[in-house]
Amino acid sequence: MSATVLSDRPPPHSLLENIAAQNLPPSGPTADVTRDNVAVVWISAATIRATLQMLKDHAQGHLMLFDLTAIDERERIHREGQPSSSFTVVYHLMSLDSRADEVRIKVALTDHAPSLPSISDIWPNANWYEREIWDLFGIHFDRHPFLRRILTPPTWTDHPLRKDHHARATEKPPYSLTEDQEKYEQNALSFDPSLWGMKRHSDHSDFMFLNLGPNHPSVHGVFRIVLQLEGERIVDAVPDIGFHHRGAEKMGERQSWHTYIPYTDRVDYLGGVMNNFPYVMAVETLAGITVPPRAQMIRVMLAELFRIASHLVFYGTMAQDVGQLSPVFYMFTDREKVFSIIEAICGFRMHPAWFRIGGVAMDLPTGWDGLIRTFLDYLPKRLDEYDAMVMRNPIFRARTQGIGAYTKAEAIEWGVTGPGLRACGLEWDYRKYAPYACYDQLDFDIPTGRNGDCYDRIVVHIEEIRQSLRIIRQCLEHMPSGPVKADHPLTTPPPKARTMHDIETLIHHFINVSWGPVIPPGEARACVEATKGLNSYSLISDGGTTSYRTRIRTPSFAHLQMIPLLSRGTMIADLIAIVGSIDFVMADVDR
């Protein structure tokens, strides 16, 4: 994100004014502004519930709990102007009305056994976020309805994102499993409905419990939903995640700023460079790098190509989930065409890790425009055929219309973003709301649905493919000339042209390549409208060669939380349609 775009923002306030008006003791809110120009307000643990409740009431349903996470501050050096704390819990609120109303509310926790009141009754989506914080940081949330581990196994004993927790197995003695431990681990896997908050019988019948997953053809990865069934009707559903947890956030604290880029590709593994985008933008914000226009447009073009690729997978697998076998083959063929373009540009298909701090890895290859033009002319006709085959099919309609519907208000309550939010009729797209890169120079529409059901979510996805094609065509026609990497000492890998001419450049180059760049201390968050919703990276630099804290806020995590709400009272077959229409990948949920 270029600095110029950011400084155009109006000074952040009405949320802040609300907080200030409250005049809360003991210290009152202290506001400081981080590098990404989002206001930070420190509030005491005692008043956090009251403050959040007040803010939510005041916003009249247009305030989203965008993210809720924590920071282990115990080893952090650069904390100028911040209250001292061992842990900090961060509530990231975002108003959908105005960009100004974005605020990070921080709560300093100094206790040895830190705890906070739960806000899962104020914002239902806080439930999983609080569980995640408990799991990874060991911060307890009082009166949380179900405070159990969410990403690590139930038998895990530590809190992995704490600074004193090892990052690699090699830092520990070799793993061994005694017979007793094995029994203990296996017992922990046995299923007890009451532990999951489910009853075994109703007044007149016994329920059947069905494990849908972790391996099941329609859960799109390793994802488990425990179903409480009465016949084929779902009484309750409890999603169980964490099977795909690889500690991506912890890895961010080990990898240099540059070498972390390939890890981001694998978070939403259908999104490719779309994942690099928020990460490098956040680093660039911290480093104060302005990305040249050609690099910006190349980034946007690649990101939109990946959006198409991801949406095609969604479209095909969605049809497959309701039993239509053929579309997925056609759509994978089309996706292959996208990949051949991406491969020609990046040299890699699914995970190119092609964005760099300060630009992109290389300039576009000769003939790229021809490849893209051919594809732009090819896909719309195919999409029309798919409309006839899938969207106008009466059986397909009967399976998806009116199924899994939620309202605009519910979507905001649960932190739904992306196509799932737009399907409820809200014309809200981060590319318009806070245009990053060069989206402000591009002309495109925000497709919306009306009913917020499975069918509308698919409609929105398809229309987004068409809009992406439109964006790519504009990129094709208006691609600026110039460098593809910023001329800045912190770009990585650093410019090499002058290394053999003067010693200063040589030293810089050597250090920046061997250690990686040293990013100035600070906090920044960058967010993009990713394939599945809002994907944001919040980075904290402590003035080192690695990130102090890498927070990845993924859309799928928020979306999966809604499954119980959507599936109660439906049939198993409906649940499959709902799960398909949510459009998630498990790596994006578990990270």
Partner: protein, 318 residues
């Protein structure tokens, strides 16, 4: 009965089994064609021997019965499936002179009866597996197949009324001047839909419903016992297609070409139509399938019986 050639009794099941095995390859190649991909094309000319390779593989798989299953019934279920389908073929007149008991005077009832028994294969498999996905599949199968048998029987009444016989040979002969698909178009439609449901093929493959139930009623089956379900399903497709040919498309009758070839041609076309359906359609939900049956197909088939009866009576009176 003594005039039935021994050869026919031995050959018919063998040929049917071979055709059913071959059909697995045909289906995969056709799906490949329609889905812009190749399908199995490596073993033998055009991949023709893929079916053989699969057969060998499945024969040599471990014969596994899950420890939690009800063993006797678990083994019995696929046998029932296979037997009932093969027995049904006995009553089908492939040509004017062959078929095992093509002139059986209750031929049609015999086949319907066998199909009724065939439901047990699926239901028992789902029950004996003692597994939740299999149970759900078995439940769906019981409801679906028993309901659709009702409409199937009713839809056939029209044919029987016109031909005045349950003897399949006579029914074919009654179509010498006009295939029953024309006067019985409603009945044909209902029979075709019910036939798809009976063979639990997409779009009516809810008992298997792989996207929902993994593999449905045969989730726990592997090796040759799974193979028997598999082959029985394909033999079932051939059976329904043969029935469509016999009852509505004039059976073996046709100009120029030999009778057996006509039968084969017509049956193959129907089989290919079955496969095309699989390539094209999504799967309705369980309750939607039942609603289609009881709210649309049942009235339609009753209407068909009434209309046929009225026309026949008027014709007799006039």
């Amino acid at each position: 009965m003594s005039q039935i050639p021994f050869l026919a009794i031995v050959l018919t099941p063998l040929v049917i089994l071979a055709l059913a095995t071959l059909l697995t390859w045909v289906e995969r190649r056709l799906l490949g064609l329609w889905q812009d991909r190749h399908g199995p094309n490596r073993v033998g000319p055009g991949g023709l021997f893929q079916a053989v390779a699969d057969g060998i593989k499945i024969l040599f798989k471990q014969d596994w019965i899950p420890p939690f299953a009800d063993k006797a019934i678990f083994v019995l279920a696929p046998t029932i499936g296979m037997m009932t389908v093969l027995l049904s073929f006995g009553a089908i007149p492939f040509t004017a002179w062959s078929g095992i008991v093509g002139t059986l005077n209750v031929g049609l009832l015999f086949i319907l009866g066998m199909m009724g028994l065939g439901v047990y294969a699926v239901v028992l498999a789902g029950w004996a597996s003692n597994s939740k996905y299999a149970l759900l599949g078995g439940m769906r199968a019981a409801a679906q197949m028993i309901s659709y048998e009702v409409f199937m029987g009713l839809s056939l009444l029209g044919v029987v009324m016109i031909a005045g016989s349950f003897n399949l040979h006579d029914i074919v002969m009654a179509q010498t001047h006009c295939w029953f698909i024309l006067p019985q178009c409603l009945g044909f439609l209902v029979f075709l839909l019910a036939g798809i449901a009976e063979t639990h093929r997409l779009p009516f493959d809810l008992p298997e419903g792989e996207n929902e139930l993994g593999a449905g009623f045969h989730t726990e089956y592997s090796g040759m016992k799974f193979g028997m379900f598999f082959i029985a399903e394909y033999a079932g497709i051939i059976l329904i297609s043969s029935l469509v040919t016999t009852l509505y498309l004039g059976g073996w009758q046709g100009p120029l070409l030999p009778a057996a070839l006509w039968f084969l041609l017509k049956t193959t076309s129907v089989v290919i139509f079955f496969i095309l359906l699989r390539a094209a359609l999504p799967r309705p939900r369980y309750d939607q399938l039942m609603a289609l049956g009881w709210k649309i197909l049942l009235p339609l088939s009753l209407l068909n019986v009434t209309a046929t009866g009225t026309v026949l009576m008027l014709r007799a009176a006039g």
